[in-house]
Amino acid sequence: MAFLGIGVLSWITFLPIIGMVLILLIPKEKLDAMKWTAAAATFFQLVLAVMIYFNFNKGFTGINSVDGMQLVEKMSWIDIRGVPWFGRISIEYFVGVDGLSVPMVILTALISFIAVFASWNIPKALKGYMAMLLLLDTGMMGVFVSLDFFLFYVFWEVMLLPMYFLIGIWGGPRREYAAIKFFLYTLLGSVLMLLAMIALYFSVTIADPATGERIYTFNMLAMMDAANFQPGSLLAGTGTYWRHLAYIALFIGFAIKVPIFPFHTWLPDAHVEAPTAISVILAGVLLKMGTYGLLRISYPMFPELANYYAWALALVALINIIYGALCAMAQQDFKKLIAYSSISHMGIVLLGMAALNTQGMMGAVFQMFNHGTITAMLFLIVGVIYDRAHTRDLDAFGGLAITMPKYTGIMTVAFFAALGLPGLSGFISEAFSFLGAFQTFRTMTIIATLGIVLTAAYMLWTLQRVFLGQPNEKWASMPDINGREMFTLVPLAVVVLVLGIYPSLLLDLMTSSLNHLVEVVKLGGAAATSMH
């Protein structure tokens, strides 16, 4: 698929940038024009995502196989022939999708589109806001389609500055603190990732198709093949000291993004202070980058260590699930509650991944998608009452079901999806994750399922405090949810319902790729064990 000679993945990645440039050219007073430009850019992005969905070949594997990648675009970006002692520097613009990235691409397009509408009433500097939002969108999309590590890293970092501004300028009272905390935390993670990336670069060579000369490469697929590691290079071999170090550096980089306990402390601050739409993006897409990175980079490039550290990952997953749920239960602030519930739910993703079997892996990736849609709904729901009441104190409300029946209806879908009610998408992915994990880590999984009980407890308790009981006089005249807010919530609710009833719509997309990923990791692990 290509338009005007440019591949569809380039379009879907750079459409927001085009929108951003247009918005910067619009005169300051024309607020509506800016909003609609942003809406149009993200709408077309969503249309492309839907087209990718329908054109996606479900039989292709991807992961480490070039032929298994779809919609591939590959061209030379930096090519420095240089002098003998420097070697040749060759960096490619290399994008493509497989069953692991396609769900994320669709999720990003969907959430970005909704985020634009959730930002409709931004009170100040709309131009800058929309420009930053779209730049962020490009960064996110780029991360999910990149197959060149250097490109991946650039997109990964491109997101930092827009996010800093979006939280720092348009956020709540403690926005400055939250914004810089987010920025510093993430940068710490990314410099460690940078070092691991360079170490990988100097270890992996591929043959130049034209001349046959061995050249260093940032090609991720090449980094997944043990045969490409130069003997004697830093990361050659299996289970060496340096490989452990690189794996841990990458892990910290991704763990900060997920966030994995104890690197999670930036998240509640960022979520509470960020404007609604940014919380939606943060929880909906940004957190997924951490787990995506682990699956795309850490697992296939360091298979023996993915096996070696699986129990440790399961352990932090367990901590995330239980700790996140307990913290959520203790919150007075509605948004903080959702933020901690995110930590808990991302724990389920990690647990599924740690299982290293197909069920667990499917559950994990599906949970990434579902958590994206469900948490986005929850944050939008908080945004609705915050816009009206200007408070998020859970005890300040009560009986909202009477004054806002439509709102309560849609809220119920989100709450029950979050606590994993069968028939809604969250149930399927949680069940798969636990099913997979149970085969590998029996005791830990049993303890982890306690998290479901805790989730049900805080979700239902919140529902009771806010929506049931005696109506608070103060909010008696609060208007029910309006058309625009409905427009942001309904598509997500539909996705949650449909995937709850017929999950194969999405699961089929990822089966081949995730099967293959599990095989790659298992084989890599087995090869390492047989050598010792």
Partner: protein, 499 residues
């Protein structure tokens, strides 16, 4: 003999041009009193011409004046950096309110600027200890005067005095070190003879260490490496912004040129076997690169940590430039051509981003009269374009893609990991996280805070904005397409008389 001098003179054209420019600028200042900016224009043309001559010499590699100077790709690279920096500084000077106060002294300003440039050109090519000292002194003496150029401002005079005292002390130390080295190597002054002497006969290691430490003290002062940096914040704060910017880039570049050439020519074993291509071997087991490693860690860590507490923009950028010297020293530690190329890439990038940041400081000080970080509050809403450009420069200084600063860091870290200096790479990486904090403080004031008091929009003239874009656009473009810089650096690591 005469023939050799004549031959050398032909290759000495860039320096001769600068010397002539100094004379013409002085004469023009005396004769044409009605046009005070004429000397500045002459300086611009002269430096530009000298750069053209330098570029023409690209590819040559020979020794001039019986081993005093070398014209080689390495020297030409640093001449281009220094020359480009001088040209940009002259453009800044045209719009600097500080310099305008003393417009009657423009002749001195212009000719001293060119003299300083000449000194740095000589530093870039010096291959003899005498020449090294002379060129450092020529640069130093001109810059002492320029630091105190706006003598109406009290801290400017203070800056000049501090600068000269520290300068005299460190030159003294360096000369002492040189004299020890002179004795150790049996009376050698040119770097090649020192190398030959060290390669053939064993010398007292303690004496060699002392001599090296003393010489490092002199060079460390020039590049403001910790613990020889004490002059930097005061001089940077007191001197006019244009001179501060010049010192922070050109002076540092020339200092690095000497430092690298001194070590690479004298203390490298040219006959070592069995090393991978592009790696250097040390002589007599004297691991001077470990001294540089310690210096590098101290320099970047202290520079970054102290910068966090600064409220004056010039002081903040002074400490930031100290930190950047620390990053660049990492490239010297690895003992490889890759590291050297990384330092060179970093200098191109640093030229753009650091001059850009100082230029914004100058523009803002022109309008608000303040260099305090608090005067940047709400600047993003008063002058959006300049503030966005400042964000680009600061993000680049912090080393975040897609800016050129990231490319600089990338190549430095790459050379470190390639030579397995992993702990140093980790220290450097953590340092760049610390540095983000203070760079973002400025961004925060510009965009996250509302203006205090005067909130009226600030306008800048078209040429002023053009100069800004001249620096900001390459900072972004080189972040995404950096082949030209890397190719230039690759082609410039070659030094005369070294394998």
């Amino acid at each position: 003999m005469v023939e050799q001098v004549l031959q050398s003179l032909a290759k000495f054209l860039p320096e001769t041009t600068l010397a002539a420019t100094i004379c013409v600028a002085i004469l023009a200042g005396i004769i044409v009193r009605s046009r005070p900016r004429l000397p500045l224009l002459i300086a611009f043309l002269g430096v530009g011409l000298s750069m053209v001559f330098s570029v023409q010499e690209m590819g040559t590699s020979q020794s001039l004046f019986s081993g005093m100077l070398a014209v080689d790709p390495f020297a030409i690279f640093f001449k281009i950096i220094v020359g480009a920096c001088a040209l940009i500084i002259i453009l800044f000077s045209l719009y600097s309110a500080e310099v305008r106060i003393a417009i009657s002294r423009m002749t001195e300003y212009s000719s001293l600027l060119v003299a300083m440039t000449l000194g740095m050109y000589l530093m870039a090519g010096a291959t003899n200890l005498l020449m090294i000292v002379l060129s450092i002194e020529l640069t130093g003496l001109s810059s002492y005067v320029l630091a105190g150029y706006t003598k109406e401002a009290p801290d400017s005079s203070e800056a000049a005095l501090k600068y000269i005292i520290y300068g005299a002390l460190s030159t003294g130390l360096m000369l002492y070190g040189i004299s020890i080295l002179f004795g150790l190597t049996g009376g050698a002054t040119d770097l090649y003879s020192i190398n030959r002497a060290l390669s053939s006969t064993a010398v007292n290691p303690i004496a060699l260490l002392v001599a090296t430490l003393l010489i490092i003290a002199g060079l460390g002062y020039k590049i403001s490496a910790v613990p020889f940096h004490f002059w930097t914040p005061d001089v940077y704060e007191g001197a006019p912004v244009t001179i501060t910017a010049f010192l922070s880039v050109a002076s540092k570049a020339a200092g690095f040129a000497i430092l690298i050439r001194f070590f690479k020519v004298s203390f490298i074993d040219a006959n070592a076997m069995g090393l991978p291509a592009g790696f250097w071997a040390i002589v007599q087991g004297f691991e001077w690169n470990k001294i540089i490693a310690i210096l590098s860690v101290l320099t970047m860590t202290l520079g970054n940590l102290v910068a966090v507490w600064q409220n004056n923009m010039k002081r903040l950028l002074a400490y930031s430039s100290i930190a950047h010297a620390g990053y660049m020293l990492m490239g010297v530690v690895v003992l490889s051509d890759k590291g050297l190329a990384a330092v060179m890439v970093y200098f191109v990038v640093y030229l753009l981003m650091n001059l850009g940041a100082f230029y914004v400081v100058m523009l803002v000080a022109n309008k608000t009269g303040s260099e305090d970080i608090d005067s940047y509050r709400g600047l993003g809403y008063r002058t959006p374009l300049v503030s966005v450009a400042m964000v680009v420069f600061l993000i680049s200084l912090a080393g975040i893609p897609p800016t050129a600063g990231f490319i600089g860091k990338l190549f430095l870290f790459a050379s470190l990991l390639d030579a397995q200096w992993i702990w140093l790479a980790i220290v450097g990486a953590i340092n760049s996280v610390i540095s983000l904090y203070y760079y973002v403080r400025i961004v925060r004031n510009m965009f996250l805070r509302d203006p205090e008091g005067d909130a009226s929009p600030i306008q800048f003239s078209v040429p002023q904005v053009a100069i800004l874009l001249l620096l900001a656009i390459p900072t972004l473009v080189f972040g995404l397409y950096y082949s030209p810089i890397v190719e230039l650096a690759n082609a410039s690591v070659m030094m005369f008389g070294v394998r």
